[in-house]
């Protein structure tokens, strides 16, 4: 990894460099070349070709970033507020229903459009525009309404003439519930914040006001906080372990430290899956660690400790996996701290501890800042490890996102959760920048 955001000025800024700065500051606006062109303009002309060539070289990367990064993220942001299931399935009804004021029932004309659109959708069976799509979408708003739509759709094929309202009510009594129609009106709009509300454990009530979701469905906010808490714990543990290791690496002779560095990087060369599975073998109740504890009599056979498939498992495995991301920036910063600083401090009368605390430690701060930021942001979005060893308790927000993208297929909710995660990280980054200063980071 070679992200270089160095903050430290060169140790010895000589008097000449200072002088040069003064000169350029004083005369930059006044200089005219012999042919009458201002210096700055001339300079821009002569370097233009160079710069455009340099820019050209970045085109592949820019294209790659746009295709792999900007477009998908833009799509995700868009999908979290845009869900056209209503207007796709019921194009005419979706427009008409917006004129309804929500009191009483919609007009007979609207019922007719609803029935016609439902029949059309059933006939055409276009992908993404089936009654099933609408049923799923409605099911997010009113759990349990999926079958109402699908069964009604089937029975509606026999309805050929009005009055459509009565026909519907005859098919299923549930259509008499006005709440369904109010929700149907909301669902018919393409743009909605309903998924953000859901991601924040809120929902629209029957009157369209925002209220807290039912206790049973309040899982996301607490999970966000759990994710933040676990990430913070993981980051702290990484720092605690990485600091002495990096220090050791930085003071050892190059040959030894290179060898040890390979050991640090070794996990990178092993499959994530293998590493995580190894932790399962070690930590499970019938695993190595528990067996040892039982055999030396520290715990009884029926008192085996549950160390995996919970938060403990997630923390242990993730600290292991993210440790190199803490060690590398710390090491690269510590490597640049000359041993003479500590010696100077000692020669001036500082005890080893004082010298460490007042001289060495402050100089490692850029590395600590970079390492903690890196590990924290990686941890907050981690997915595989918690999925494998987290059990139910150790699941993080990314596992919920994955669930909605892969299993429940509620992409809009997944996108909303993802967007909130993205915003959270950006906010944290901003706060961090205010506290530490991103220009002070040193990734090595």
């Amino acid at each position: 990894m070679r992200i270089s955001i160095h903050f430290r000025e060169p140790n010895h800024m000589t008097s000449t460099t200072l002088d040069q700065k003064d000169i350029s500051d004083a005369s930059a606006d006044a200089l005219i070349m012999v042919d009458g062109v201002p210096l700055k303009q001339k300079l821009a002309e002569t370097t233009k070709k160079q710069r455009s060539r340099a820019l050209l070289l970045t085109v592949p990367l820019v294209l790659f970033l746009v295709i792999s990064f900007v477009i998908p993220i833009g799509q995700m942001l868009f999908r979290s507020v845009h869900n056209p299931a209503g207007s796709n399935v019921l194009p005419n009804f979706a427009i008409a229903i917006q004129d309804w004021d929500g009191k009483g029932y919609p007009s007979e004309a609207m019922f007719e459009l609803f029935v016609k659109d439902m029949q059309n959708a059933r006939k055409k069976r276009e992908i993404g525009k089936t009654v099933g799509n609408l049923a799923t979408r409605m099911n997010y708003t009113i759990p349990g309404t999926r079958s109402l739509f699908t069964s009604t759709s089937r029975k509606l094929s026999k309805v050929t003439e009005g009055p459509y309202k009565e026909a519907l009510f005859k098919i299923d009594k549930k259509w008499e519930n006005k709440v369904i129609w109010r929700n149907l009106k909301r669902v018919s709009r393409d743009y909605t914040i309903a998924f953000y509300l859901a991601a924040l454990d809120h929902k629209f009530d029957d009157d369209g006001d925002i209220i807290a979701a039912d206790k049973l469905y309040q899982i996301y906010v607490s999970n966000f906080f759990k994710t933040l808490k676990l990430s913070a714990i993981i980051t702290f543990l990484c720092l605690l372990i990485a600091f002495p290791v990096s220090y050791l690496l930085s003071i050892l002779p190059l040959r030894t430290s290179n060898l040890l560095m390979i050991l640090v990087l070794l996990p990178f060369w092993t499959s994530l899956l293998v590493r995580t599975t190894a932790w399962i073998a070690i930590l499970q109740t019938q695993g190595i660690l528990n067996n040892i504890l039982v055999s030396i009599g520290l715990v009884s056979d029926d008192g085996r400790i549950q160390m995996i498939y919970n938060q403990t498992g997630t923390i242990i495995a993730m600290v292991h996996i993210l440790l190199p991301f803490m060690i590398l920036p710390l090491f690269s910063v510590m490597k640049t701290i000359p041993p003479s600083y500590m010696r100077a401090a000692r020669s001036m009368g500082a005890t080893p501890f004082t010298a460490y605390r007042r001289v060495y430690f402050p100089l490692t701060l850029p590395g600590i800042a970079a390492g903690t930021l890196l590990v924290f942001i990686l941890a907050i979005g981690y997915y595989i490890t918690p999925a494998l060893v987290g059990g139910e308790d150790g699941l993080l927000i990314s596992n919920l996102i994955a669930y909605h993208i892969k299993s429940s297929l509620n992409w809009s909710l997944g996108a909303a959760l993802g967007t909130i995660l993205l915003v959270t990280v950006l906010v944290l980054y901003w706060v961090y920048n205010k506290l530490v200063g991103i220009d002070k980071l040193s990734f090595g």
């Binding site: 000025e9 000359p338 003479s340 600083y341 009368g349």
Partner: protein, 362 residues
């Protein structure tokens, strides 16, 4: 100097890092209070190791180091009370200049007001009174150097160690700093142990110079003595410019001897460290002690062919071929009455036997 006078004393000190090679071999050295002693030598000669042992960063493998009469072998660095100036200054980059200077006082739990006063006084002494709030990186090399010196002085140690402190400066600044450090030493009367590989620096600043080579002090004496009377071929080569003529000792008479050069020329010289007739010897001769068209009173007369003339303003460097050595240098002072010289010309040269030292061959 009597042993009891010694402020710093190395007694039979030996040092090895790897258990195979001795970097310092049987070092015995007394340094008087208030003395400016320079350890001079090429890199790898053991001088810096000696300094580090004195500062406490390296333990002596054998022998004792005394400071003010007590052995400090088992005293940790922070309790030795020795000020130190490092090669790259080692100014703490995260502290301002004033904070750097305050550091040694703070760890001594001095009061705020006293710290402030002392820091300001020391900064004024090195003429950086107005720079207290700057960061070291905002200072020029020379200024950083002065801060480093000030920081070593601020807690008023009796002994200050300097490890090639001027190495990173350009020539002009280096010369200026040499005088400044020397003046500070004279003003404060502290004992200074100074390590350098630059012989001019050593000659300019020191009361005494210890020339190190191969872990051994080759010669310990005043700068003048070192230049005028080098004890062996290494010192003669290392200090100042030196012409070298090789030959065999023919005759020894008291402190004088006669050496027959490899081309048969007979030279009269001061006997320094040759012991017997028939021994090979290298004759050491300073370029400025050689005369062109020498007076009769000089004992040695030779002929040389001029190969190259280099005009240096105050003097002219003449490289000539003398007795089979075509790297023979003569410095001719640029006087109004100097003789015109040209390349290829044959000239007579001569020198006094007392200016020519018969030394060992290395």
């Amino acid at each position: 100097m009597a042993a009891s006078d010694a402020f710093v004393r190395f007694e039979k000190v030996q040092k090895s890092y790897d258990g195979e090679i001795l970097v310092v071999k049987d070092l015995n050295l007394d340094i008087a209070k208030g003395e400016f002693l320079t350890m001079l030598g090429p890199s790898g000669s053991g001088k810096t190791t000696c300094l580090m042992m004195l500062a406490g960063f390296e333990p002596a493998t054998n022998g004792d180091i005394y400071l003010d009469g007590t052995s400090i072998n088992h005293v940790p660095p922070h309790k030795r009370g020795i000020g130190m100036v490092f090669q790259n200054y080692a100014l703490f980059p995260h502290m301002s200049v004033a904070e750097n200077l305050a550091f040694p006082l703070q760890v001594r739990n001095m009061g705020q007001a006293e710290i402030k006063e002392k820091v300001q006084r020391t900064l004024d002494m090195v003429e950086l009174g107005a720079f207290g709030d700057r960061r070291p990186a905002q200072l020029s090399g020379g200024q950083q150097q002065r801060v480093a010196v000030a920081r070593a002085l601020v807690f008023e140690p009796d002994l200050i160690l300097m490890d090639e402190p001027l190495g990173a400066l350009d020539k002009q600044l280096r010369e200026q700093m040499q005088y400044e450090i020397k003046h500070i030493h004279e003003q404060l009367g502290v004992t200074v142990v100074y390590v350098t590989h630059d012989q001019t620096e050593a000659l300019t600043m020191s009361d005494r110079v210890a020339v190190f080579e191969d872990g051994v002090i080759q010669q310990l004496s005043t700068p003048q003595e070192l230049y005028e009377n080098p004890k062996n071929a290494f010192v003669a080569q290392f200090i100042g410019e030196n012409n070298r003529l090789l030959g065999v000792v023919e005759k020894i008479k008291g402190n004088n001897c006669t050496v027959k050069l490899d081309d048969g020329t007979i030279i009269k010289a001061d006997r320094v460290n040759v012991s017997s007739v028939g021994e090979r010897s290298s004759l050491s001769l300073r370029p400025e002690r050689i005369e062109i068209d020498p007076p009769k009173s000089m004992e040695n007369h030779l002929t040389g062919v001029i190969r190259e003339l280099i005009y240096l303003g105050d003097h002219i460097r003449v490289r000539m071929d003398v007795a089979g050595n075509d790297e023979f240098i003569v410095k001719v002072r640029n006087r109004a009455d100097k003789r015109d010289l040209s390349e290829g010309q044959k000239v007579k040269i001569g020198w006094k036997s007392s200016d020519c030292k018969a030394l060992d061959v290395r």
